[in-house]
């Protein structure tokens, strides 16, 4: 297939490009980027991207596709459709499936299923420990051979420092990062941030220090054994401080945050809406400000969704019992563009946190528009206003606290490996 995208504002941070250019896609590769590329008359699609942004397809380092095991919450098919709609061309799926992705056969299953049914690229993340139990290392080498790009016990911290140390050391053999969910379960007994909101609602809490202690511990261990540590869904001001300080003397630390951690405060939980239940919990206004500052000054490298789709019954119950998580793939771009509209990030900086930075972390050959690269390209408009309607989500998970929100910015076209996998108008 030949696609010519004309007159869009091409933002390609890796190649320092930010200007009005044309992009010519031939087959599965980006053949040429330049001014006024002439139509040859053989194109399948010629797309006028005037007033729109043309960017490398986004890479999400943290999603839950729920397959195998929880197909009633999401499947690889529906999760990647949601990803494509949201502007993501690659996603990293976490290991807390059933069975857990702690062995080659599950990794292979996910990769095969994604090739058959996926709308975007899927890169499995293997479990650090067997059954996510935090005790014995999984067969990381075998899974790496099958295609995992990182390891994580996401949803839990590796409780024992000794086990985490071994995992960090072992990960060096394969050059893959350890993605760490930071939560000291001795300190977290609950469901929402410890703050004024918890005083008001009486819900049990996850204090900010439960995250920060593990952020500090994991960095210390990684530094000691000289391994790559990636701290995921960072949510507190204290974590940003620690990471800022540690990054100054150790370069193999990266981290991400999620749109809900800069869009909502703990106050959103006051009506016991279980769609606001997420782990780590929504934090205070002060934390939100620190997260934004961390994104602005580059301490936070990546924006990930932690897309955590759930079926309605898992959410439609008592707050304490309800499942944690937000279905985030279809609102991430617009919520993140709020940072651009507020002047926190430039469009270039924002695109970088969704493309080059995650690609570098995972050593993926995507996330930029270099000529000759695989054609993973999106076209979005940062100014189009729309109202979030969970019923229009392609994800099976309609669990969003943003339903009814008026947002600004919309993905219009997603191309993966030269194929159009999602479009909204334009053609």
């Amino acid at each position: 297939m030949k696609i010519l995208i004309k007159k869009g504002r091409v933002i390609d941070p890796k190649n320092n490009i930010d200007e009005i250019l044309d992009v010519y896609i031939n087959g599965n590769i980006i053949e040429k980027i330049g001014k006024n590329i002439k139509e040859k008359g053989v194109e399948d699609f010629v797309i006028d991207a005037t007033d729109h942004i043309v960017a490398p397809g986004f890479i999400d380092v943290h999603v839950h596709l729920r397959e195998p095991g929880y197909e009633y919450k999401e499947t690889i098919k529906t999760g990647t459709m949601a990803a494509a709609k949201g502007g993501f061309t690659s996603v990293v799926c976490m290991a807390n499936t059933e069975p857990v992705n702690d062995n080659r056969s599950i990794t292979e299953f996910i990769i095969k299923k994604a090739k058959l049914e996926g709308s975007c690229r899927v890169f499995p993340c293997g479990a650090i420990t067997k059954g996510l139990k935090g005790e014995e290392l999984s067969e990381i080498g075998d899974m790496f051979d099958a295609g995992i790009v990182a390891i994580s016990d996401d949803g839990k911290s590796v409780k024992h420092s000794g086990v985490l140390r071994k995992a960090l050391e072992y990960s060096k053999i394969f050059g893959i990062p350890v993605i760490s969910h930071c939560e000291d379960t001795d300190l977290s007994h609950g469901f929402i941030n410890e703050g004024v909101a918890s005083v008001l609602s009486g819900l049990d809490t996850v204090p900010s220090i439960a995250e920060e202690i593990i952020v500090q511990r994991d960095i210390m261990i990684a530094k000691y054994v000289n391994a790559n540590i990636h701290l995921t869904h960072i949510s507190t001001a204290g974590s940003v401080d620690i990471i800022a300080r540690e990054k100054r003397n150790y370069k193999y630390i990266t981290c991400d945050t999620c749109p809900h951690y800069f869009s909502l405060t703990e106050d959103a939980t006051l009506k016991f809406d279980t769609n606001t239940k997420v782990n780590p919990p929504l934090r205070s206004k002060k934390d939100i400000e620190a997260i934004k500052e961390g994104l602005k000054n580059g301490i936070i490298d990546i924006i990930a969704t932690d897309h955590a789709p759930h079926d309605l019954p898992s959410k439609d119950m008592e707050f304490n019992l309800a499942a944690s998580g937000i279905s985030g793939l279809e609102t991430a771009l617009a919520l993140s563009l709020t940072l651009f509209h507020e002047g926190v990030l430039t469009l270039g900086e924002l695109v970088k946190k969704f493309t080059v930075n995650p690609a570098r972390l995972l050593k993926l050959p995507y996330g930029d528009l270099s000529e000759g690269n695989a054609a993973d390209v999106i076209v979005f408009n940062p100014y189009i206003e729309w109202i979030v309607d969970k019923n229009t989500f392609l994800s099976k998970g309609k669990n969003t606290p943003f339903d009814g929100w008026k947002l600004k910015g919309k993905n219009l076209l997603t191309i993966v490996d030269g194929k159009i996998v999602y479009r909204d108008g334009l053609i």
């Binding site: 703050g195 008001l200 009486g202 819900l203 009506k271 016991f272 019954p313 119950m317 008592e318 304490n320």
Partner: protein
């Protein structure tokens, strides 16, 4: 003013006028319980269900008596006899009950926000009779009623709440209610049982009971919930009784006409000594008596609301 709300879920929801309306209405209902024939036809033909997922003597009996004195039909369901043990969700239980057309469902549950699930789902009026550590609005209203009755006012008083503030729905509801008035609120208890950030609500925190009760008009005692494992927050019941058990000597530092309150059930010799519980300052049984009147008022207002 007229009552318009369908449910009574939390004190936080109420305006000061709404609180005053409940207290005023309760005043007129109090007399009914003193009659020889303790029944009026006000709620005849109305159905009131109490749905209790936690044990309760006082609150449930109080609601049932209140409803019966207003001539409503009452049905009591407790967790051990309900479909809860068969795995039915709260929402489904609520929907099934609603099919039988109750006017009011009174729910007690161990989890914050559980009454809100019913309130969102059902057309019946929902009354929160205690949801985890969140709120116990009718307790706070009967406490305010008792304070007003004994002191003639609420404004200008110093109220000290002593005990496990962190896990207490009674403390929370009372704090939210009392903050609507011009009151000085002091929370006192072991530091492990004072929720962080509570001072941001304008509440003073005092770890020393002697300093806390100084010049107090009202002392509210809370129970240590041994059955919920709260014992792990303190070294021992023995030490708690020494440090935070209210004794007569403490009250000498309070105002001369101080009143001592307790929502029950009391652990005598732990948070409160016999001499205080049964002494001249105690209004603990008045609270129980007033509970019926306040709950009659709430049932009356909710079922007669303007729609």
């Amino acid at each position: 003013m007229n009552w318009t709300k369908k449910d009574l879920l939390e004190i936080k929801d109420l305006t000061k006028d709404e609180i005053l309306l409940i207290l005023e209405t309760a005043e007129s209902f109090k007399e009914i319980s003193l009659r020889e024939i303790k029944k009026v036809p006000t709620l005849r033909g109305k159905t009131v269900i109490t749905l209790f997922y936690e044990p309760s003597t006082r609150t449930r009996t109080s609601f049932e008596i209140a409803a019966k004195r207003l001539s409503a039909d009452t049905i009591n369901i407790s967790a051990s006899t309900s479909s809860f043990v068969k795995g039915e969700t709260l929402k489904d239980t609520g929907k099934n009950l609603e099919s039988m057309k109750p006017d009011v469902i009174i729910i007690r549950h161990s989890m914050p926000g559980a009454p809100h699930i019913l309130a969102r789902t059902l057309k019946s009026s929902i009354i929160n009779a205690g949801d985890g550590a969140h709120e116990h609005p009718t307790q706070a209203l009967l406490d305010l009623f008792t304070i007003k009755e004994k002191k003639g006012k609420i404004d200008g008083l110093k109220i000290v709440i002593i005990g496990d503030i962190m896990h207490s729905r009674v403390a929370r509801s009372n704090i939210f209610a009392l903050k609507q008035f011009d009151t000085e609120i002091v929370c006192c208890g072991p530091a492990t049982m004072i929720p962080p950030y509570i001072e941001k609500l304008g509440i003073a925190v005092e770890y020393n009971i002697n300093r806390a009760v100084k010049d107090a008009d009202v002392v509210m005692m809370l129970r240590i919930q041994k059955e919920r494992g709260r014992i792990s927050y303190i070294p021992s019941i023995r030490e708690y009784a020494i440090l935070y058990g209210l004794k007569k000597a403490h009250l000498e530092k309070a105002k001369k006409d101080v009143i001592v309150m307790h929502p029950g059930p009391m652990n005598r010799g732990v948070e409160i000594s016999d001499e205080v519980a049964d002494g001249e300052y105690s209004v603990i049984l008045d609270q129980v008596e007033n509970g019926v009147a306040v709950r009659m008022a709430i049932l009356y207002l909710l079922t007669g609301r303007e729609q």
